[in-house]
Symmetry: C2
């Protein structure tokens, strides 16, 4: 597929909606509304072929009616668009609480029964359809992973638009219809997502059509946008760059007519922009004013207008279940029956319980059905990345002189990513909050500019509308775009400052949940992993200060699904390359890679790195003295992460120098989950493997990149975990030197060496001298930084002499 695959002869205009078509479309909508309400209320009698009885009602009424009629209306009209134009459409349901609406539509179009044959297109299937909804052992109440056609869980609001744009990038044939609730529109991430069109290139990307459902209420409150004048709302979205089309009202036929006209206009604009941009020789110099639709309809439209004398339709009271007392209140039961019968199910479904043919014909066929779209089951579209041999980017390391070369760890990864861009021109992107060069990944700019679909100035550096490197000052956008990009079958990397990765932590959590659920469904084909590079880490944000120092995302990801969550702490460039190569080939994982960008010591040859990363953790024999002593270690030193590993190595040197009779083992852990028991995580080491590294009883001193207790929690259940003495980031920081950072947090070589002799099993000659040396060194350092302020310390004590 090339970036301009869609032929320009696709039908660009949709015919106007004539009266007959309108009537049928409204009927289709009624069928969807009926099945929506039926799912919320019924557990039997799905077509009301008997009078409604108390026993037909679910014991516990769950679900969200309020947003559903609008979701159904939009679905029906998009069906028509697809049918008439052949356009591929992905439906993103921002008001995802309206799960029954999407289930209803995918059932009506047939995809639901194909995926879940038990929910067949007959009365038995309909019975199952209504019973399963929001029922233990059934399906969740929201648009969720089991919902066909969805890439978007509707629980945590805010990400509909950012997912939509991520799906549209590099999918030129795709139109993403993104329904946004006016409640969701209040969230920060959603508000920030409107700017997606400044990064959407009509030549090579698909289109996003936002449809704001301005139904005016949230659970309990009016929305902010609901009370702004139409002029003010128009200004807002015009200001975001959109051409706004309003559809307002509560007259069924009129709203349908107006929506059809608005969609027709909007689609015409989209195709016009695309056709113009995709003409040979055309160039894109600014973002078109893409259309959006504002659909202002009553909340819970067509539902109960009043209940017990209080208005429900058009108010917050229609948000969830508008009639709550139906099992105990005969009047409510009667009102429910009247409401359900108002959709005339007997006219819409045939004797067998199947949607009548006349209406069924309104849905598209095959994979054009939105519930069957391959885009929404991205694994079906995924092709493996073309990846060159990662060793070709590796640093040359002389095993006789390890730890003598200082190199920016992430820079070779940038070179690898450059060639990934080159070799996969439409299926790979890097996303970064304005930090790509800062994070030493700038090599990708040799083959692709940064993307900005806007006028370019001479003072810009490698920025253009044709650029495909995504930089925007928003972790939410970077992370969310990557989610949308991978869920539709493409590959990518989100590279960010470690501390500010917490900004989008909740998105990582929710995406992990999505992948966990997806892996349980056979029909969901695995998608490329969400790869997150955490760099500019706490230890080397000595220049930016305390706000920039926070390794907390590790603690967020550790408890998540072991089938999905992976945490890597490569210690140098070659281990980072090996890990990144693995992650870029993986599927259905969330890979955190933690590696700083500053110059760091380099230790392993490419082959050693490959073997080390494949194992997850190894003894570094060249760094210990065990072999020389020919006996089990007196102490095990463990480095996890770049800076702590350097300090561990320097501590090993101090031990060697002061206490030469001590047998020291040095271990490095690159795959953090290896510390977990093998029954708790697929990467967890078996107890024999664990013992082979850490012995059974010897004390272990660990220098860890993050908060020390993140390691302690992993070690629970291992033999004798109390012998592990972990030092890590303890939330002490400021603008200072790198070495002061490790001293402040007790992870300096001096702290670690002192700790090692404290816990070594027997006392060896030289121990007292070592302890004195360490304590004196720490004292001197403190004096240096605090009392001898006038001496203005340079960076020092920040190397390691290397070892053959």
């Amino acid at each position: 597929m090339t970036a301009t695959a869609q032929s320009t002869d696709n039908t660009t205009t949709v015919p106007e909606l004539d009266h007959e078509a309108l009537t049928r479309l409204v009927d289709y909508w009624k069928a969807a509304n009926y099945l929506t309400a039926a799912q919320i209320y019924l557990l039997a009698n799905p077509l009301l072929r008997q009078p409604l009885r108390r026993e037909d009602i679910k014991p516990r009424l769950l679900g969200h009616w309020g947003t559903s009629p609008a979701l159904n209306l939009i679905y029906a009209h998009l069906n028509r668009l697809v049918r008439l134009t052949g356009q591929d459409v992905l439906y993103v349901t921002g008001p995802g609480h309206g799960g029954p609406a999407l289930v209803a539509n995918t059932y009506l179009e047939g995809t639901y029964s194909e995926i879940y044959p038990a929910v067949s297109r007959d009365v038995a299937g309909l019975t199952r359809l209504v019973r399963q909804f929001s029922t233990p052992g059934g399906i969740p109440s929201h648009v969720s992973v089991p919902t066909p056609g969805s890439i978007h869980e509707g629980g945590e609001l805010g990400y509909a638009l950012v997912h939509a744009f991520g799906a549209a990038f590099d999918n030129p044939d795709l139109l993403v219809a993104a329904v946004v609730g006016d409640g969701e529109a209040e969230t920060g991430p959603l508000e920030g997502s409107w700017k997606g069109i400044s990064f959407l290139n009509p030549r090579r990307d698909g289109a996003v059509l936002p449809i704001l459902n301005l139904n005016q209420y949230k659970i309990a409150n009016p929305t902010v946008l609901a009370r702004h004048s139409r002029e003010q709302v128009t200004n807002l979205f015009t200001g975001h760059g959109y051409d706004v089309h309003w559809v307002e009202g509560s007259d069924v036929e009129q709203v349908h007519r107006d929506f059809a006209a608005a969609l027709r206009t909007a689609y015409g604009q989209i195709r016009e922009f695309q056709v113009a941009a995709r003409r040979p020789g055309a160039t894109v110099t600014d973002a078109p004013h893409w259309p959006m639709i504002i659909l202002r309809t009553p909340k819970g439209w067509t539902g109960p207008r009043e209940v017990d004398g209080v208005q429900v339709e058009g108010t917050f009271r229609a948000h969830q279940v508008p009639l709550a007392g139906v099992r105990d209140n005969p009047a409510h039961l009667a009102q429910l029956e009247a409401w359900l019968r108002s959709y005339e199910p007997e006219r819409l479904f045939d004797a067998g319980g199947r949607l009548i043919a006349d209406l069924a014909a309104l849905a598209p066929d095959g994979d054009r059905r939105m519930g069957a779209a391959s885009y929404a089951n991205g694994g079906r579209r995924t092709e493996p990345l073309r990846l060159r041999e990662w060793r070709s980017y590796a640093l040359q390391i002389d095993p006789a002189r390890r730890g003598t070369l200082l190199h920016e760890t992430t820079r070779p990864l940038g070179e690898l990513l450059r060639d990934v861009y080159q070799d996969n021109p439409t299926t790979f992107r890097v996303f970064s909050p304005d930090e790509l060069s800062s994070n030493r990944l700038g090599a990708v700019l040799d083959v692709s500019d940064r993307c900005l679909v806007a006028p370019i100035e001479p003072t810009d550096d490698r920025v253009s509308p044709d650029g495909r490197v995504m930089e925007v000052l928003s972790e939410h956008l970077c992370e969310g775009w990557l989610e949308g990009y991978t869920l539709t079958g493409r590959h990518g990397l989100f590279a960010t400052y470690e501390a500010f990765a917490m900004v989008s932590a909740s998105m990582v959590v929710q995406h992990t949940k999505w992948l966990q659920e997806a892996s349980k469904l056979d029909w969901r084909v695995p998608v490329p992993s969400l790869n997150v590079l955490l760099t500019s880490t706490c230890w080397r944000n000595d220049h930016n200060g305390f706000s920039h120092q926070g390794p907390g995302l590790i603690d967020t990801v550790v408890p998540l699904s072991p089938g999905v969550a992976r945490i890597w702490l490569p210690v140098d460039s070659n281990t980072l390359l090996s890990v990144a190569d693995h992650c870029l080939r993986s599927r259905n994982h969330v890979n955190l890679m933690v590696a700083d960008k500053q110059p760091h010591l380099q230790y392993l040859t490419a082959d050693e790195a490959a073997e080390h990363c494949a194992r997850g953790a190894s003894v570094w024999e060249w760094a210990g003295t065990e072999a020389r002593h020919g006996r089990d270690p007196d102490i095990v030193l463990v480095g996890i992460g770049d800076v702590p590993t350097m300090e561990i190595l320097a501590a090993a040197d101090l031990l060697h120098q002061f206490v030469p009779s001590l047998s020291v083992r040095v271990v490095n852990v690159v795959d953090l989950m290896a510390l977990l028991r093998s029954d708790l995580h697929p990467h967890g080491f078996s107890n024999p493997m664990f013992r082979a590294l850490f012995t059974n009883e010897t004390d272990v001193v660990v220098g860890f990149h993050g908060y020390s207790r993140a390691v302690h929690q992993l070690l629970h259940g291992r033999p004798n975990p109390s012998r592990f003495h972990v030092r890590g980031f303890m939330e002490e920081g400021t603008t200072t030197t790198p070495f002061d950072m490790v001293v402040r947090n007790g992870v300096s070589r001096f702290h670690l060496a002192r700790l090692a002799v404290e816990f070594a099993r027997t006392t060896h000659p030289g121990t007292d001298r070592l302890v004195d040396h360490c304590e004196l060194s720490i004292e001197r350092h403190h004096a240096y930084v605090t009392e001898h302020f006038e001496d203005l310390p340079e960076i020092r004590d920040w190397t390691w002499p290397g070892r053959g």
Copy 2:
């Protein structure tokens, strides 16, 4: 202070800026620009009284020049406003990387030297001023806690406006000038913050004046807003509700003149809105079109125009240090000297190194100086909340019938909060993402409406412009407003769904860092704590499904500063009341309170709850069999959190029933940090206290609210931690029943009882029967949910018979 304290006779209009005043103001600005650049570069020779030498230059150049000239311009003009009107102004620095600019201004106005006497207003002080900046042992490079006049750390971008609005609520005399960078304006939280004016009431709140510094570049890229037309940008902010005033250019005098005029107009509008709204009998029915200023000036304005033939001023290259090679490149050194001398320091500072009197007079006096504003040191303004005796809201519990009353745990807290509103009409607010009633805190609506400064419709429920209950569908806004509110000395509570508290997790982290640093500075008076109620928890979001089930914020907060972080898991209404009372009285803490809103069993009388919460954890003798057996326990059962505690109690009953000879102790932990060693957290139990609860060697079965390893990490360092067997949320969820949730996650009574007999030290009669019973019960449950789907399970097995 009343809500309309500011007299209407405050000078509403600022005189126009005449030429002489302009000249002096420009000179003041030059002095600030000079000191800004001097801090970035110099370690000596601060006034260039000697020719600039290599040795005068810092070895490591850190800091952000790009944004600083604009920050200085705004500060100088606000000084003038304050001086001429007597207005209290708080300066919020969104582009907080421009730390040296704020330090320069607070130094020039005198507050810096008052707080830090060593940085005196003479050459010695100036030397210290420049040396300390971004230097180990000195001060951080950003606007941060040590910066006088700041409530806002400039590291993690996105929160300038939300902090500004939080500060303005209920501070009618305050004007918050919120500078927003156009980089920061790309973040989701900032984009979402513009809507603050829909919640700002001119009668009782202060004003926020946003000043967008459109300097067009981020670190490496143009900003999105920079490339939109002036018309489009105006539309955007008009759409957000603002009246936009543009100030553009690079001609120094013209920009200063235009900015003075814009500020004059804006201030006039603000005062006009306030005076009108504060007239007796006036009512506010809609948000005024508050002014904002867009200041479009070159990035790094007045800095080096070109370096090595490449344009720097006005481009991203001016973001940090525009001349980087000054220590090694004599041409750069000369260019730096010329740049610094262009500000004519010899004319601006007197012989002693003090700003000349003519310019010093341009700063306001005393506490009107923005660096000295009491609002920015909120503890100075804090008055204790008026709190009634919390026991008056307590549920009546009969100790003979514990665990028999089912009550929504959070509801009595709502009643307490209602009276806190009543008794503290201008110093307390609750913030919630549209979930207040859902979370059973609706009693507050009896005394205050929800706030929306917009037209109200008859279908609204207790919403009005005069309401002070803050509901908006954005965790970022809720959390950020509360931060601004408490940092300026008022009290509040953020009540939210547990899972979605992760949305603003990074804000909690950054606020914890702020409080940690503040507690080290004598001059920063402690402020009210950030109180976060996590409710609608994972165990009882059985109706909403997996996306709503996530206790991860606990894991985020556990590793943070022990001086600040507190985590409470009250088990019923009375413990929640006791904890909330404690938290509302506390200072400088971040209190996470975790308690579900659904009906739960109630156990403790008010007095018992008070004692239990004061201890942090206790043995519940009435629930165990230890006393009856008269010997040490064979097993200790521990509940932490409401649902797991109920399951622990039911497990204790099973043990009693099946294995009556077993001696069982039941413990409840309400203060999670009590599990930490006492040297690691002020709430940590000493080892004797710990042993008194958990013995020294007996196995302990824990039912925990969150991820089990959050407990394991706390237990490291305790005697024999491997004997603790913790079951908690293991990331298994969907739409199901509450009981299925505990079964899925292995925390059901059956799982816990089986675990208990597995680990009890000796085998007692009945053990095999108990194990059979538990396994059969779990099997039956699974069959019930999955195979016997047609039976549609109701909620069952979800009680406990109570105990006297």
